[in-house]
């Protein structure tokens, strides 16, 4: 199914390469070299070594017995990406792309970051591999995530604050693209999600698909069969594609993505581009975006900075279009419920992003019933969100 592409660099009607001419050569080169490197076993053994001894793979698949009993439906498993170094699945991609940077003989990378998770994971990989690193972060986000700014600096990255547009993730991507256009001859762009021009959505997915590969093997060992559903939160969509990808051809496995419903789709204050957006072209790709009728991109809202993006990866747009995956939404308020629920029942504090998947999984588990099996991709841990959640809860639990 995933090979059903109509045009190079496309997933059905989505994807493509809508960038200034200056970047076309870099994208052609990246695609060509990546195809070469992809077949090079020494690349994968180097990456797998780092994933194992540095990042902490494979991550466990944990049977959430207490949560399962509390919900009273399907057996709920958690894929523990939150246990990885730097606290989320992002490191899978940044280690892969940092190694790729070295292989294509570039010595400088740029990256964008929203909440700071991808920025921290990029700075980490660059520190490890000795690559110059510049991270672009919106002024608004940098204010909200001061600690991550410090963390990135400590790791040796230069953090450049973006003061244009809405001063958030989308503008950080714009600025990283502008830097890349300017310095393309010595710089690689480590995009943090399955978004952007071809071949980025494919490269990032290839580095994240290990999540689903491990999950498949682990659930077969634990249960002797595949799950009935796999559920993950979707901003740009990298952790979701990561866990979905191995299951795409197993058509009886439901693939469920959960978008940030913010204050509710009807209020317009959300970040659910598949549920509340329309087809457009931004950041090099044709996909779903939150935009007005003349194509101006709209401001987004989510309690979780990692989902606060007005678009979504083209492969998700395609999976929605062909009906292979379903995309639901969760409001800020519900996400906080998920955050508290998993903390109390299992002693695991999830990232606010992952909490979106947790709370919607409760409904799906009930729907599936006691015979069912469900896997939640617990994409990140909640340490980064403690201060924000404490403020929202007024310090009272």
């Amino acid at each position: 199914m995933q090979n059903n592409r109509t045009k190079k660099g496309y997933f059905g009607d989505f994807g493509g390469r809508f960038v200034p001419e200056t970047l076309m050569y870099a994208l052609e080169e990246l695609e060509e070299k990546y195809e070469e490197i992809k077949r090079d076993e020494s690349f994968w053994s180097e990456l797998n070594y780092l994933l194992r001894v540095y990042a902490g793979r494979p991550t466990p698949l944990f049977f959430a017995k207490n949560l399962t009993e509390y919900v009273g439906g399907a057996k709920i498993y958690l894929k523990r990406e939150d246990l990885l170094h730097t606290g989320a699945h992002k490191i899978n991609n940044t280690l892969g792309q940092a190694l790729l940077t070295k292989r294509i003989n570039k010595n400088r990378v740029v990256a964008e970051t929203g909440a700071g998770q991808h920025g921290v994971a990029t700075a980490t990989a660059c520190a490890l591999l000795g690559i110059d690193c510049v991270v672009y972060m919106g002024e608004e986000d940098a204010r909200r995530q001061e600690l991550n700014v410090f963390r990135m600096k400590l790791l040796g990255a230069e953090v450049r604050i973006v003061k244009s547009g809405s001063r958030t993730l989308k503008d950080a991507i714009n600025e990283a693209l502008r830097d890349w256009v300017t310095n393309v001859e010595n710089t690689h762009y480590i995009l943090g999600s399955v978004v952007g021009p071809h071949p980025f959505p494919t490269i990032v997915r290839d580095f994240q698909k290990i999540i689903g590969e491990e999950t498949k093997q682990q659930i077969l060992e634990a249960e002797g069969r595949l799950p009935d559903a796999v559920i993950a939160c979707v901003g740009g969509g990298s952790n979701a594609i990561g866990i979905f990808y191995s299951f795409i051809n197993d058509e009886h496995v439901r693939l469920i993505g959960v978008e940030a419903g913010g204050m509710g789709i009807e209020t317009g204050k959300h970040a659910a581009s598949l549920n509340g957006g329309s087809v457009g072209v931004l950041h090099g790709m044709k996909s779903y975006f939150l935009q007005d009728e003349e194509g101006q991109i709209m401001n987004t809202h989510s309690v979780s900075a990692g989902l606060d993006y007005p678009g979504v990866g083209p492969e998700h747009a395609y999976l929605k279009e062909i009906g292979r995956a379903e995309y639901l939404t969760v409001t800020d308020e519900e996400a906080l419920e998920g955050f508290k629920l998993l903390s109390k029942t299992e002693g695991i504090i999830p990232a606010l992003e992952s909490a979106h998947a947790v709370i919607r999984a409760v409904d799906v588990a009930r729907e599936l019933g006691k015979e069912g099996i469900l896997v939640i991709n617990l994409s990140g841990r909640g340490d980064k969100d403690m201060y924000q959640v404490m403020k929202i809860m007024n310090g009272k639990v």
Partner: protein, 260 residues
């Protein structure tokens, strides 16, 4: 088409083309209309009319601010059409090229966008985030509505890419002088630009203009020694607060640099 004919008539007078850009709605619709008029009066050969977009990745800080201000002012496609119509009415012999990003064109609808632009006196489109590989749909719409689609080339466009650009572009190609975004620069890599223009000429017979970074008459002259014209944008946006007279005399001065 109209843009191609402009290059022919310039050639007869031993002149190169001065292409001048300004953003509709910066600092407001009325002022931008007056500034565009003064650009016409100053002697621009082709006028590029900018339509604002929320995420202008090919633009540097100066033009980014123009996009932001115009959007804050609530500028819509109808305002761009209104201004274009006024300018065309006043300067029927100056071809107008509308410059915006792909998403507004796509979202408004390719055919609809092209038809309305044509009706407002626009002769062509420049879409900086649309490389030749993705241009087929828009090209179909521009062709059937009788508009030109001008493609961009860059210092990183190798031989094969220049060929693709030449195949797709109508009337002229627009060479970006540097890897980077729009914005006036003190120095230009003239040797590299000249080399790229020469390479282009071995492949393509359509005129080629050079833009990005051009900030004075000396630059204009240096580039016109080997290219068919220059594009100025950020320079004029920067001058906006000095008023339309300052812009008119700047355009007049730059135009002198194109005459041989």
């Amino acid at each position: 088409m109209e843009i191609g004919r402009k290059f022919e008539s310039l050639k007869e007078n031993s002149e190169k083309a001065l292409v001048a850009y300004f953003m509709v709605g910066y600092p407001d619709v009325y002022t931008s209309l007056k500034i565009l008029e003064s650009i016409g009066e100053g002697g621009a050969d082709i006028i590029e009319i900018g339509m604002p977009f929320s995420d202008p990745v090919a633009d540097g800080p100066t033009i980014q601010i123009a996009h932001e201000v115009a959007l804050e002012r609530g500028v819509r496609f109808k305002d761009v059409l209104y201004v274009s119509e006024k300018i065309k009415g006043k300067f029927p012999h100056i071809p107008l090229i509308l410059m915006t990003y792909y998403n507004p064109v796509f979202r408004i609808g390719l055919r609809d966008f092209c038809r309305k632009s044509k009706d407002a006196g626009i002769s062509g489109l420049i879409v900086p985030d649309l490389p030749p590989e993705e241009a087929d749909d828009l090209k179909e719409a521009t062709s059937s509505e009788g508009l030109s689609l001008v493609m961009l080339a860059s210092p990183t466009s190798h031989h094969e890419r220049l060929r693709k650009i030449c195949d797709k572009t109508d009337d002229m190609a627009y060479l970006v002088s540097v890897t980077g975004t729009t914005g006036a620069r003190d120095e230009l890599p003239l040797k590299r630009i000249k080399g790229k223009v020469e390479e282009y000429r071995t492949i393509c017979s359509k005129p080629i203009v050079v833009g990005f970074g051009i900030s004075n008459r000396v630059h204009v002259r240096q580039i016109c020694e080997f290219a068919d014209g220059v594009v100025v944008g950020s320079l004029l946006i920067k001058l906006a607060d000095k008023g339309k007279d300052a812009i008119r005399s700047m355009v007049r001065d730059l135009k002198e640099g194109t005459k041989f």
